[in-house]
Amino acid sequence: MDFTEDQIQRYSRHILLQDVGVEGQERINNGKVLIVGAGGLGAPIALYLAAAGVGTIGIIDGDVVDLSNLQRQVIHFTPDVNKPKVISAKEKINLINPDVKVITYQKLLTAENALEIIQDYDFVVDGTDNFPVKFLINDACVIAKKPFSHGGILRFDGQTLTYVPGSACYRCLFHSPPPPNAVPTCSQAGVLGAIAGMLGTIQAAEVLKYLTGVGDLLTNRLLTFNAKTMEFRTIKSKHNDKCPVCGSHPTVTGLVDYEQAVCDIESHRKQK
């Protein structure tokens, strides 16, 4: 593709990067990335991928913007409260970069629609807030041989892992969802807003690395950090031959919608 003068200017800081250059920027502009969840992680991921010029960004989320989202979901603004998150996100992406084609799915990712939706994309980013969908994304991506970035945050902690076909998947490390009644009670939950930005931008960087082929992806290692100590660690992991989805005798051969515990401010109030 030939860049216009405006595009050369817009992407000049990427083009100047020796490892990226015009060729790398072209790969970014030709990239198709699906972001699952337009929330705490999805917001910074979408903003940075839009600014970077990712050609097609798909966003799937069934929620509307809630006042309690604005503490961390920086793609949504105060006047967006009650607006579908995918619409709010699309508006900001287009304001940042009209080059980006945005495809919105105002629904949940489910066992029924996951494979069909992800097939159109080069890379999938997990920006969800719950385990059922995290496992669904993993299984769908493993089955469809689609690279993806896992991300999770809780309180002051974050973790992320990148999967490419053949590397350790989320199930290699975490096997199966925690029992719904075992997840932390509401009084233990919550998240420091900036953590979402810290983790989301790491995931966005992984996407850009994947598209441009620059550097070493976070494959076969789980990056974790704690913002209280500001200590970062990468834990080496291996493909697990007994993994239920990518091991040598898989027991997960189709997609399932797992049960999910509900924890909102109302149940938090009731507990007190």
Partner: protein, 70 residues
Amino acid sequence: MSKISVNGKAQEVETPISIIELIKLNNVAQPEMVSIQLNGEFVNRDEYDNTLVSEGAEVDFLYFMGGGQY
């Protein structure tokens, strides 16, 4: 006492020690919310009792992290 590594930090324990004992020793509040790696390999939950950790082992407690919802 022998030295092992837990979450990247040195720890002195009597080895061999089972994974289940090590979880207790480290006061893991919600064992259902961690996944265990021993020397970089996943340990199945039903093998915590009979999987023994020996001197020099590297153990990691990987916490389940959702998205702040829980």
